[in-house]
Every structure is written in structure tokens, then in C-alpha cells.
Symmetry: C2
DNA sequence: CGATCCATTTAAAACGTTTTCATCATACGA
DNA sequence: TCGTATGATGAAAACGTTTTAAATGGATCG
């Protein structure tokens, strides 16, 4: 209990050269050793309950908070989760929704979220190399996977914990959360067919991404099964600026016969399609219909109603966050690290997933 | 030149307990002292040119990159710029555009950008306290200032470098970049008046924000100067979901006489206004017109044309980044730390600003 | 030839933690 | 009474940098 010999400085107030209180400050005030203070704050079992309380109280009083840099240096852990954010993902809040979900999953953990914007022309793979080399984070989340995604390969090789939004076709399994875009596209197509539409068109994600392939596959499946005419508008995609989509539609169907049903992978895309068709003198709900994937409220302002199938991006983010924490904690059980979310369809029940 | 006595270990390969090469590894290989290696990599003038080159070469060969945690601990600098991101800012890529600009400004500097999402219900001020206490960054950027913004006060008191997007009415000056929303609103209103519109309505930003006040002020100024009828739709704003805006418009003007001109602070807002008015059987360009602030390409898909006045958010971000770097470097010259951007108007020339 | 200076290089301390290994009472069983 | 387990605390080393102060060995100079 009694302090042994120790160079007690002023024994009060912040004693740090930079002005911030440190473990040393608390040690001086309480007359304990730095070791003990560190342990008390870490809730180590060996520290007596009184000491622990006293230390915590002093820490609170002087407004102590641990130096993250020192902790990082010593432990090698950063307590940071990084999200790779790409420009196009922001359109209509993709990034926001996902990040909100991740933040939710991280709440109450020592981890916090940083977002690494990937704007400058640097390839995506550079950003990942940068994060690994500089130990910027303990785990990584990113989206828009490709079937043979080099990012996934790089991270897997390095044993760096990560979760993707989207599957790959790589041989080595990895943690992911994905939306069943095949089923989405099937169902969207069937809804149009049910409305009597027989000449269908697809505007999907940019070629090369896994999810775009799934959408196309689902579309083809439903279209063949009904035996109706179709086209895939492969020279425009979700990421195109609204104006470009509109122009493309207008020019394409100004003279030529147009489809009477569109499947759109996104909301801005649907909107632009409508205005392009209007340019051609064609009216939504009359000459044609649209079914689009919905991730925000934008289309609720559009009239007449566009058919929508919902993808919950915040839930996706939350799942990704939780899975990443599991991965960092050491789990390699892929049945709790992989999750395929089903579209909310009227007549199917949402299958219970592996993750809670 | 000759290595004195030194415990040369294996003198090759990474010697770090964690597997990564450190300054020590390079020192062992070259036979130099750690100090010298550190200086060589920092381009210190006192190191001979040959030594410098040799060290750099070895560093490159073994793939050395400095431990950020150790650098942070020693220097107290983080080399990080933080951006506070709020959910609503993502709508139509506000966040993206600004961040792309900041990233551009940071290119080639040792700084890199992290984004702290501010989702969870925690008040904004908590996020800032957190950043200061934990030394998460060397500087901070955030937006949507209030006239008496508590965040600005807190940061100013703590001497923490920051730049805001938006002015305040606080007594103490601080670095900012702002768009001249007063002029924007004046001009937008005048454009409607020039089209012969005489019953005008404003849908502006959420009350409480500085920029919303400026818009309202500009609107009132132009409206009074022309002596026309007006209303301010204060129960809906930019941040409202599109569906809510549409409903609000529809219900309000279903029976009652509607305005013949709208000033909209944002694009989704303009879109929702159009559909709401369509619900009432009123046609854009015929019974009414709209002038909106444009920050993306969304409205380019809308027909007939909505009047727009452009705000360049990427440029804003770039200016904020540059100003923050100046501030961190120690500048207190407010004439190079504050910047008011003028809307791009047809008949006025853009005033050359203080910042490049 | 000794003092002085310059250009390089180095040793060692420090940044604030965590962790390994002791230390020290006290209590306990024999 | 003596070893020994036990429960609480402490000293010191380490993480990988940067920085202060010092050393080294010529070259220059009076």
C-alpha cells in the first residue's frame, strides 16, 4: 500500500511534455507504478479492486486517454477498420448506407472506422498495398468484387483480414457478404413478364464486376424461360452519368422499336431511362414498365410508380462489420464468415443466415 | 567510412520481430548507425550524398517503409487529415466530390485523408472531442456550419487546425471556404422573375445552418426588390427524403393556388418538386419554373430543363485541403485562409481569390 | 605543431505504452 | 518456526522512430 521510494514530481496536474496526461501522470498522483496503472485501466485480474477504482477515478479526473500511437507501437494492433471508398459508390448514398451499417457493428468495440477514399487515379490494388505496408488498419472492407479479384488474392496471400461486398470465383474461400443478384434479376424480369411485357432490356452494372454477371445471368434465365425478346444495353451501365444514359436511350429508340420493359440495376439509371423514353414520346406505365433495384428513397418521388426490389445496404454493412470482427478474432469458419442475402420477395421467406 | 565496432547480426534480410524491416535492419546491412539511416531517408543535409543513395537503395531493395506508429509517437504528428462525414451529405455525392478535391490537394504531401463517419447518434461535438483527445489527426475539415457553431468554438479554443465549409458569425475568425449562397439565391430568384414568374417559393437548407440563412436572405432580397408574392416552405428542406418533399408539395397545392416559380437548394429536392407538381396536374415550363443549385449531373436527365446554378464541390474540397495545409504549417494570415467562392454567373467575372 | 573548424557519423535518450520477470508482504500448512 | 503458496505491486526492457549532444578524423590556419 505504501509507496516505496519514488521520485514523486509535483504529484498533481498533467506532467507530460506535450501537455497531455499519461500513465506516468496517474502513477505519480496515486503513488503507484506505471505498470500497475496500466493494468488497472486494462482491468487486469491481478490488481486489487480498490486500486483499480482509485486509478480509474484519477484517470477520469485528469481526463486521461491513452496514446493510440504508443499502444499501436507496442502491441502492433491499430484498432482501426478501413473501408475502401470509390467515387461511384457514393451516388445516392451507397457509401453512406454501408458505412452507417459498419459503424453500427463496431459500436461498443475498441475498433473505429476510417474510410480511405480511392479517388486519385491510383489503382485499387495500390491502396491495399499501402494499407498493408503501413499497417493502417487491422482489417479491411471493400466492394464491387471481380470474379478473379486481384485485391482478394493479394489480401489472402498476406493473411490480412478482410470482408468483401460481393463474391469472387477464386479457389480460395474468403469472407464476404453478398446480395443474391441472380434472384433479383430473375424476379425483376418475371415481374415485367407478368405485366405482359415481352420485349425486355437490361441495364446492369459495369461489365467485369461479379454482381453484374449475376444480374445478367438472372435476366437471361428468366427471359429464356419465358421465351421473349430481349436486349442487353452493354454500352451504358449503372455508373454512367444520368445525362449519358438518357441520351443513349433517346438516340437508340428515337426511330427503332423500343423495348416495353426495362430492368435497371440502380435508381438514377431508372430515372434517366424514364426521361430518355419520354424524349421518344413513350410513357411509363403505358408503353413500357421498369423494375429497378432500390437502395434509397429517390424513386419514391417518381410517377408513375417504378417497380422496385429492395437491397438493404445498411444491413449489409452491419453484417460485414460483424464478420470482419470475427475474422480478426481468429475465426476461419467460413459458415460464419460468408453470407448471401436474399432479396425481399413477396412470396418467399427470407432464409435465416449463418450470421446471428 | 569504416564501420566501427558493432554487433552486426545476420546483416541480411528482415530482422524485425514482427517480420517487417526497420531502420535497424538497414543499419545492419549497410554497417551504418540507425541515426544515420534515419537521416539519410529524411534527406538531412549533413549526410553525404553517397551514403544517402546507398541507404535509399537498400531501403528500396528490402521494401522498407517506416512504422507510422513509431513516427507518430516520437514526433507527435499523425500526418493525417480527418474529414467529418455526415449521412445526409452523401446524397448525390456531396461527400464524394468534396473528398475527391481534398485528396487532390493532399497529393504529393505526406498527409493522407481519413473520413470519420458521424452516423451513430452521437452529437457532432463528441466526434471532435474524440479526435482531439486521441490525436487522431493533425487537422480537421467539416461542413454545414451554424452561425454560432459549437464545433468551431471548441476547435478554436484548443488551437486545433481546421477548415470549415461554410462561415460562422463568431467573433473569432477561422479558416473557411464558402460558396456565396446569398448571391446564388438572389440570382436564382431573378432568373425566375426574368421569366415572368411572380409568385415564388423557396425550398432551402435546414434551418439553423449558416448557408440556409444566406439563401433565405438572398431570396428575400430579390423578392422584395421585385415586389412579388412569395412563400418559404420551411417545413421541408434539402435533407428531406424525396418522397416527403413530393407529398408535401402535392398536398399543399392540390387545391390552393400554387407558386409559379421555385428556388430549390438541391437537385433531389428539385426532382421531388417536379413530381409533386405533376401530381397536381401542373407542368414544368408551362405553369411553373424551377431554378436549383446544381452539384451533380442528376438534373441533366430531367425534362424539360430545370434552371441551374452550379457549385463546384470538388474545387471547394481542393481549396479546403490547401488551406488546411497552410494552417498546419503555421499560417495565421486569414487572407490566405478564408475564401468565398462566387457562383458562376453569365455576366459577372469570377473574382480572383486569395488562394492561388 | 597545436588549435580550430568542418563534414560526417554515432551513441543515447526520449516518446507512452505493454509485457516479462522479479519482488515483497502476508497467510498458510506442516 | 520454516518453507511455500498467494495476491498485489514494481523495475526494466521493448516496440521503431527522431533528436540532442557528442565524437571522429581530416583539413586548415596561425
Amino acid at each position: 500500500m505504501a509507496a516505496r521510494s519514488k521520485p514523486v514530481s509535483s504529484a498533481t496536474g498533467p506532467a507530460n511534455s506535450r501537455g497531455k496526461p499519461t500513465l506516468r501522470t496517474i502513477a505519480d498522483i496515486t503513488g503507484l507504478a506505471v505498470t500497475t496503472v496500466s493494468r488497472a485501466l486494462a482491468n487486469a485480474p491481478q490488481i486489487s479492486i480498490e486500486t483499480r477504482n482509485r486509478v480509474r477515478q484519477v484517470a477520469l479526473d485528469i481526463g486521461y486517454s491513452p496514446d493510440r500511437a504508443a499502444q499501436r507501437l507496442k502491441t502492433g494492433r491499430t484498432n482501426v477498420i478501413a473501408v475502401l471508398l470509390e467515387p461511384h459508390e457514393e451516388i445516392l448514398g451507397y457509401g453512406t448506407s454501408v458505412m452507417a451499417g459498419i459503424a453500427k457493428a463496431l459500436q461498443g468495440t475498441p475498433y473505429h472506422l476510417i474510410v480511405m477514399p480511392n479517388f486519385l487515379n491510383s489503382a485499387n490494388i495500390d491502396a491495399i498495398n499501402y494499407i498493408i505496408r503501413n499497417s493502417m488498419a487491422d482489417g479491411l472492407i471493400f466492394s464491387r468484387t471481380e470474379p478473379l479479384d486481384p485485391r482478394v488474392m493479394l489480401l489472402s496471400e498476406n493473411g490480412f483480414p478482410f470482408v468483401t461486398h460481393g463474391r469472387t470465383e477464386l479457389a480460395t474461400a474468403h469472407p464476404f457478404v453478398d446480395y443474391d443478384n441472380f434472384t433479383f434479376a430473375c424476379e425483376a424480369t418475371r415481374q415485367l413478364i407478368a405485366k405482359g411485357r415481352r420485349r425486355l432490356a437490361l441495364i446492369s452494372g459495369p461489365a467485369g464486376y461479379t454482381f453484374a454477371g449475376h444480374i445478367q445471368h438472372g435476366f437471361m434465365t428468366a427471359v429464356r424461360e419465358a421465351g421473349c425478346a430481349y436486349e442487353i444495353l452493354s454500352d451504358i451501365d449503372l455508373d454512367s452519368p444520368a445525362g449519358a444514359i438518357r441520351d443513349r436511350i433517346r438516340r437508340r429508340y428515337a426511330e427503332k422499336d423500343s423495348p416495353d420493359g426495362f430492368i435497371c440495376g440502380g435508381e438514377v439509371c431508372a430515372l434517366a431511362t424514364i426521361t430518355g423514353m419520354t424524349d421518344c414520346g413513350l410513357t411509363l406505365g403505358l408503353e413500357y414498365d421498369i423494375v429497378a433495384k432500390q437502395t434509397s428513397q429517390l424513386l419514391s418521388a417518381i410517377q408513375p410508380r417504378v417497380g422496385t426490389i429492395y437491397e438493404d445496404l445498411t444491413a449489409t454493412g452491419e453484417h460485414m462489420g460483424r464478420i470482419l470482427l470475427r475474422r480478426i478474432a481468429g475465426s476461419t469458419e467460413f459458415n460464419e464468415l460468408q453470407l448471401l442475402l436474399k432479396p425481399d420477395l413477396p412470396f418467399e421467406t427470407q432464409p435465416v443466415s449463418a450470421a446471428d
